[in-house]
Amino acid sequence: MASTELLIIDGHLDMAANALALRRDLTQPVQVLREREGGIRRRSGHKDSLERRQGPLIPAQGPATVALPEMRAGRVGIMVSTLMCRVQASGPDTTHAARTREAAYAVARSHLAYYQALVRQGEISWIRDIPELEACLRAWENPSLQTPVGLILSMESADPILGPEQVPEWYEAGLRSVSLTHFGSNTYGHGTGTRGGLFPSAYPLMDALRKVGIVLDLTHAAELAFWQILDYWDGPVHASHCNCRALVPGQRHLSDEMVRAIAGRCGVIGMVFAEAMLNPAWVWEEPVTQRPTASRSMSAVVEHVDHICQLVGNTDHVALGTDLDGGFGRDLAPTDLDTIADLQKFVGILRSRGYREEDVRKIAHGNLIHFFHQAWEHTP
């Protein structure tokens, strides 16, 4: 590996959802995934073949950008990756939603089982405590093409947790970060696109999360829910994948006040590499404002990095949480990004913008390592 390549930690990926809902075999190179999704499907000649039954094709997400070989090629050696299934009524855009909490629980278990199978194959490795974190960092000092990618397990919307009494079971399974909500109004509170706060069940859940040492992810909390969480919760917080409202308007992004609050709690904010989060003209609620292809390059991400650093006066609270392939593909990722391996280019852009090497390292991996290190050091 070139000496200029830094270890990169991606603080938010939906690997299992891509593998199971979109049928992506993430051990294959991105090019193979694109060919499978774009190619013409073969049809069996056997008269009893299932392929002779007709039905609508499930529309594909945009071209894939994330797979394990590209992560290794781009030295993205550690990921925070999700169990993701929220409860929401069926609609045109609810691929990753379930109708009931029991189904959400089942989907999250399926995501967990997929990660377990990848661990078993040696494709990824668990990071659940400080010794495992340090072992993974050592492995990535001199990586090979087989080095397992480290996994810190997160959950996007807490709907799969059927009650506070189930939290120890999830912790035992490896879960280390939870966002209470996602899109819509979910089991524990209001999320993106809605107005409102937490539901009463969120408080005993937070107590249970705090007790085992799981951190809270503020991403996707509706305005009121965000402040209710900070009022109640005294443990570590981060925003795994959020950009700045000062640059791109909309509830999905963090206001300056929120950025300051997270920094004040020693939290870290992960930058999202999505057109919807980088283009000020894009309004979540108004489809006419939404472009079919990206217009922004990775320089636009640096603007958000700059904004946060200026606001809080240092580089300690910024990280990456790209969300690549999180509901969009290459078509809506930054224009100069083809696969996740191109995150190394982003490191170069930071350098060219005048960030010192020490700061670049913090953004690429140091701040997230420090965050989880701190959180786990104080785990009861």
């Binding site: 299992a16 199971l20 049928r23 056997h46 299932l50 069926s90 089942a106």
Partner: protein, 362 residues
């Protein structure tokens, strides 16, 4: 409702319907029909199975599947996977759904003869509130990563497995293909036998069917299978196959899919654009064909497979929901079946096979 006979349905894809089709199975069929988006109805048909409807139909024991397979060319449902790791993920998700429903008091896992006896007694006394019994089964063994994983699945409650499904699984040729067992089948079958797990021969390609019977000397059954003599096609059992299952003291659950009941069914058309010509009488024909070959009704059961990739349109035209299965009792009675025969077909034959398989019968 209190006069309903206890019914065992030996093949329902409940977890798939709840998770992949996003149906709330605790709701009424009418509610699910109202909530299903158009693409689901077009691909999977109109809902006929939910928990309240099972209770209404006296279906107190179901064989609920873990159902996922390797099938990269699955353009129809887009749920066929590329690797066993993916299948393991989906499979554990199905298991977890049943566990969550047990936690909610809707289902109850049945894993031993004692649990089975207790359940049947309780259900017959109180069919209104007793949880529905669940025997965990698996359609295509792709989510078993290898023979060393069989103990884990057995401990989770798995009691019957078909190692093939559509296409070629990791272990064997299945429906729509020609061929036998694959090299990895033998150690898997040995592990299944060692755990007293029943081999479900449904969905084997012909060659694989005969090879499996030769290799596997544990209990066998056909969870959802009709007769080739009445409806041509590889998906159905030949008379010779039926005889082989009977000789091994197996049970055959007859299925309600019009594709397996109605020779005029057009597979190339979506189910929602046609109407089955058959009624429940056709189901009785298949029961009768098996009984005539076996010389008794002791090898017949019901494995409706309702909502297993098809809906009301593709079921017998006099079936609105799964509760209509109860009407088979009258039809069989009209054909001269005794009350004891009918009880056997509805539940007794499957119950006695389970007990024998678990070493607790006879």
């Amino acid at each position: 409702m209190t006069t309903s006979l206890l019914l065992v349905d030996s093949h329902l894809d409940l977890a798939f319907d709840a998770i992949q089709l996003k149906r709330d199975l605790t709701a009424s069929v009418a509610s699910v029909r109202a909530h299903d988006p158009e693409p689901v109805i077009r691909s999977f048909g109109t809902c006929t199975v939910t928990f309240p409807e099972l209770r209404k139909g006296g279906v107190g024991l179901v064989f609920g599947t873990v159902m996922t397979r390797i099938d990269p060319n699955d353009a129809w449902t887009a749920t066929g996977m590329y690797t066993q790791s993916q299948c393991y993920g989906i499979g554990v998700g199905h298991l977890a759904y049943y566990q969550a429903m047990e936690r909610a008091g809707v289902l109850r896992f049945i894993r031993t003869g004692a649990e089975l006896d207790g359940h049947v007694t309780e259900w017959e006394r109180d069919p209104e509130t007793t949880p529905i019994g669940l025997v965990l089964t698996m359609e295509s063994a792709d989510s078993i990563l290898g023979p060393e994983c069989v103990p884990e699945w057995h401990a989770a409650g798995l009691r019957m497995v078909s190692i093939a499904h559509y296409g070629v699984s990791s272990y064997a040729h299945g429906t729509g293909t020609e061929g036998g067992l694959l090299p990895r089948a033998k150690p898997l079958l040995e592990a299944l036998k060692a755990h007293r797990i029943i081999l479900d021969v449904t969905h084997f390609a012909d060659q694989a069917f005969w090879e499996a019977l030769e290799v596997f000397d544990g209990r066998v059954a056909a969870s959802h299978h009709n007769c080739r003599a009445l409806v041509p096609g590889q998906r159905q059992l030949s008379d010779e196959m039926i005889r082989a299952i009977v000789e091994r003291e197996g049970v055959i659950g007859v299925a309600l899919d019009a594709w397996m009941l109605d020779p005029k069914w057009q597979r190339e058309l979506p189910g929602c654009e046609q109407l089955a010509h058959v009624t429940l009488d056709a189901v009785a024909d298949h029961v009768d064909h098996i009984a005539q070959i076996a010389g008794s009704a002791r090898h017949c059961g019901i494995g409706s497979d309702l909502d297993g990739g098809y809906g009301q349109e593709q079921a017998p035209r006099d079936v609105n929901t799964i509760s209509d299965l109860q009407r088979l009792a009258g039809i069989l009675e009209g054909r001269g079946y005794t009350p004891a025969d009918i009880r056997g077909i509805f539940s007794g034959n499957w119950i006695s096979l389970l007990k024998k398989a678990w070493g607790e019968g006879e």
